[in-house]
């Protein structure tokens, strides 16, 4: 699985520091996320307030890709971590493989109140980001590309293009370019998607692998349009580059919280999970970083100002323009087969 942020020192530092609120409390959990500015934002917005409210200690760890560690820890029979923030697909896959605890939603009322598409028997959505169509405003001062069909239209929108070197969201974009409605994507017609991708392949200058790379391509004017994560594009725009993006036909993706099977502090972990998706705590997150809350009720708390809400991927009006990625499909056998097919497509 991939992570959407790359981290340097932040990971190591955060992992080492940990958080010690309510130091005397007997109850504690170990919470794991992906480090960097993202984990710092969570600490202020969600982790510290939750620890205070519950009177527990939240120890933090961070890792760019939690999946191998989840496997090894649970496999060893003595996991160290309790709660993990990881791409939703990991929670589902882990649940099926007996690596993740099944959640009792009667103990997680905040999670139970979330729309069904935002949770699974093993996980609750924690935050949203989106794979959007981003473009250079220098190349397209007006009449910018506004849909994946435009992205595929090399005559009407000449220019250099980049896509992510990964099937996630890319197959969805190809199908939308081919006329499939955002809410009718799943199960993906994989053959049709790859056929459509063959069409655009000769016009793709770069297939990027890391979020940092996608930002650099846009920032340096190396490409005129690309698929990128919304947070990366807005960061580049904030630095002064003439770039913009549209949420239209974006692919809404999430990370979720899940609990390791046999977690050392299971009961406390469940209590924490409920606090972590509390609408007010969730509403705090976008005040510190460009990601949308995982609980849509956060938008009803008045914590997020309307102009800020309008910038966020999971704001209801923005969400309505996008496709919600089905992690259930991607972790199904058909999804895994599509993932394997990607390699042959790239190296043909």
């Amino acid at each position: 699985m991939n992570t959407k942020r790359s981290f340097g020192l932040g990971c190591a530092l955060l992992g080492a520091i940990g958080v010690t609120t309510a130091a005397n409390a007997a109850e504690q959990i170990t919470f794991v996320s992906q480090g960097g500015a993202y984990q710092q934002a969570q600490t202020v917005a969600i982790l510290d307030p939750s620890a205070k409210k519950l009177g527990i200690t939240i120890n933090q760890d961070s890792i760019p890709d939690a999946w191998p560690a989840i496997k090894t820890q649970v496999g060893s029979g003595k996991p160290i971590w309790d709660v993990v923030d990881t791409p939703t697909g990991n929670c589902l896959r882990g649940g099926e493989q007996g690596l993740i605890e099944k959640l009792d939603f009667s103990k997680i009322p905040n999670g139970a109140a979330m729309p069904e598409a935002y949770r699974s028997p093993y996980s609750v959505s924690y935050e949203f980001y989106s794979s959007v169509l981003a473009y250079s405003q220098k190349t397209f001062p007006k009449d910018a590309p506004n849909s994946w069909a435009d992205f595929w239209d090399v005559k009407k929108f000449p220019g250099r293009r980049a896509l992510r070197n990964h099937p996630f969201a890319t197959l969805e974009a190809a199908l939308m370019a081919d006329g499939v409605a955002p809410d009718k994507l799943y199960p993906l017609d994989v053959d049709r998607a790859f056929k459509k991708l063959e069409e655009i392949k000769p016009h793709i200058t770069v297939w990027w692998t890391s979020g940092a790379q996608s930002a650099q391509l846009l920032n340096d004017g190396e490409v005129d349009m690309e698929m990128a994560w919304n947070g990366r594009v807005s960061a580049v725009a904030k630095e002064g580059a003439k770039v913009a993006f549209t949420y239209n036909q974006g692919i809404l993706q999430s990370t979720s919280l899940c609990i390791l099977k046999g977690a050392p502090n299971l009961d406390t972990a469940v209590k924490f999970l409920n606090q972590a998706v509390d609408p007010v705590h969730q509403a705090n997150l976008p005040l510190h970083i460009d990601y949308g809350p995982g609980n849509p009720k956060a938008f009803e708390t008045n914590v997020i100002k309307p102009e800020r809400a309008a910038q966020l991927p999971s704001e209801p009006a923005n969400a309505a323009k996008q496709a919600l990625m089905s992690y259930a499909w991607w972790s199904s056998p058909a999804g895994e087969a599509a993932e394997k097919r990607w390699a042959s497509f790239m190296q043909k």
Binding site: P68, N165, T205, D220, E222, M346, Q347
Partner: protein, 270 residues
């Protein structure tokens, strides 16, 4: 003697032999013995393509590094000591910069809006920017830059040991400088050529960051398959198998090369 060596042997055992053995074990054992991971490598075309591409790139890098490195080593050997130290420091200097930084530096030079394209457009040599990076070309350029010292240093070490009077002897027998070079100096420097080429070739086989950043996603070298297989198959065995095949190829190269030249000559530059 053994007492003195044993700590080093233990370190090698703990840090190299055990992990590599564990790696090989994982590639054949996953809930029972299986050759599935190897079957995939030898039957699916993408693996073959990656291995072929990796060897092609390594070969190209080795040849270019030799063509660039030989004259440098020759010059460093021919000039007085002070100058040769300066030349060799310049060769080694890039070692102090991280591979990642150098890859990004090449990106800044080679990309569409990069220094080279802008300069050529300013001179009106080209009207459209050249595709210098996000392809195999950019990967090769940056890899040569990184591996050049591994070519120059063994060459220089070998040339240092060629006695200067041999050249004079050639001249005194009436041979022209170019003939002396071809018949005397070049053959005597061949062990250095072989040593340098082996080092560069083998190191290049395992390159990861450079093709990842400069290859544009199309240049998939074997090391990238290793990392991709961890993601794709959710178990380390699939990746280990690729690593084992690569490791065996490297060992095979060393075995072949060692028939022509002793290994400590490559590794220790004796």
């Amino acid at each position: 003697m053994l007492a003195l060596v044993s700590p080093a042997l233990l370190v090698i055992l703990a840090l190299i032999v055990l992990p590599v053995g564990w790696l090989a074990w994982q590639s054949i054992y996953h809930d029972g013995f299986t050759l599935e991971n190897y079957r995939r490598i030898f039957t699916e075309a993408i693996y073959w393509r990656s291995f072929a591409l990796t060897f092609e790139i390594s070969l190209a890098v080795t040849l270019i590094a030799l063509l660039l490195g030989y004259p440098v080593a020759y010059l460093a050997n021919a000039v007085p000591k002070g100058w040769s130290i300066l030349i060799l420091s310049l060769v080694v200097l890039p070692f102090w910069t991280s591979v990642l930084v150098r890859a990004y530096a090449w990106l800044a030079l080679l990309q569409r809006t990069g220094v080279i394209n802008q300069f050529l457009r300013y001179l009106d040599v080209i009207s459209e920017p050249l595709a210098l990076v996000h392809n195999t070309f950019g990967t090769v350029v940056a890899t040569v830059h990184i591996l050049l010292p591994f070519m120059v240093l063994p060459l220089y070490a070998t040339m240092q040991k060629i006695p200067g009077d041999l050249m004079q002897a050639g001249a005194s027998l009436g041979a022209s400088p170019s003939l002396t070079f071809l018949r005397v100096f070049l053959p005597l420097s061949l062990p250095g050529v072989l040593a340098g080429c082996t080092m560069v070739f083998v190191l290049c086989l395992g390159f990861y960051i450079t093709p990842e950043l400069l290859g544009g996603g199309r240049t998939v070298m074997v090391s990238m398959l290793v990392s991709r297989n961890v993601e794709l198959y959710n178990q380390f065995g699939a990746a280990s198998a690729v690593a084992v095949v690569l490791l065996l190829s490297v060992l095979a190269i060393f075995v072949v090369v060692s028939r022509f030249i002793s290994l400590d000559r490559i590794l220790g530059q004796k």
